[in-house]
């Protein structure tokens, strides 16, 4: 394995790296995917706020520098799969207005691209990973795009509350 030639090496097997590796492999490329930390078993992923911290970054603290340092450990993962080990499995889209914050709200900067430019890629990612839901019934706020490729899942009480909001 160490001397085997590959086409692509991807560092990080999280949401981006793993999907990218899958797309490349399907296209016939030989891919190596690298990640750090334990290779957790499914049975290790205990449903608990406390036990769930096992998959959060461990070891040396992350250096926080700069004018506006922001904590990172809460969003990151530790192990094969990266942050997808504990992500919320939601795929909300940016809204068209998010790309025009400066011109519409006088804050931050406008993006050099618009929602319409990225919408096809939202659709592609949804197809590749199998996002489920009913965009018309459940996400009245969602901007234009293809229907989700998978049917909606059963909602629980907190989901019902979000739907009512």
């Amino acid at each position: 394995m160490a001397n085997e030639k590959v086409d692509v090496v991807i560092v990080g097997a999280g949401a981006s790296g793993s999907v990218y590796a899958s797309v490349l492999a399907k296209a016939g490329k030989k891919v190596v995917l690298l990640d750090s930390g334990p290779d957790w078993e499914l049975s290790d992923l205990i449903s608990s706020e406390i036990w769930g911290r096992r998959v959060k970054p461990a070891g040396a603290p992350i250096l926080l520098e700069g004018k506006n340092p922001m904590g990172y450990a809460a969003q990151a993962g530790w192990g094969v799969g990266g942050a997808t080990l504990h992500y919320f499995a939601n795929f909300p889209r940016l809204l068209p207005t998010d790309f025009r914050m400066k011109s519409e709200h006088g804050r931050g900067h406008d993006w050099p691209i618009a929602y319409e430019d990225v919408a096809p890629f939202y659709d592609k990612v949804a197809r590749d990973i199998g996002v489920s839901g009913d965009a018309k019934a459940e996400e009245k706020w969602r901007p234009a795009g293809e229907p989700y490729p998978m049917p909606p899942m059963k909602t629980f009480r907190n989901g019902d509350i979000w739907l009512e909001a």
């Binding site: 449903s47 608990s48 406390i50 959060k56 970054p57 461990a58 629980f156």
Partner: protein
Amino acid sequence: MRWLLRQAELKSLWRPEKRGRATCRSAFDAHQGETLEALGETLVPQAREAGIAHYIDQQISMPPHEALLQARIFNIRPPFADFYRSAIVTIDESSRKLFGREFALLSAKDQHEFVDRMRQNKIEGWTGRSGGAVYAVLRADAVDVVYGTMEGYEALGVPYMPHIPPEKRW
């Protein structure tokens, strides 16, 4: 002499066996244990009975990468014991200046007053990690032991619905 008396007084307060916990080893002395319990109880009622001192004690006694403490998320530099011990020293120094006694020996009213000032970084002469940061970590620990378990969810009336239920609280 006064210190010895206070130690004896505190020892009578922090008795982990009263909460049904193992007592064979502890990273904290009686004073530190009682101070953690008093801080936890001030931040989240029931934290003392839920075992906040035991929880922190147990978690700082294992390798940092295995610890379940929120300190990991708050980017505290291991060993985590250093954070808790230095926080207790600073809290007691400030408590003596403000109220004339260590935090664990204050009335509940004064403990709340102290924590409120600590939360807002409004204690003069505070050293080490900011009062707000100490508040955030200790409060997170107290919330964990009171509400972060299956028993805590049940007490709140929230269905737990686990895919893989935890076999132990922590």
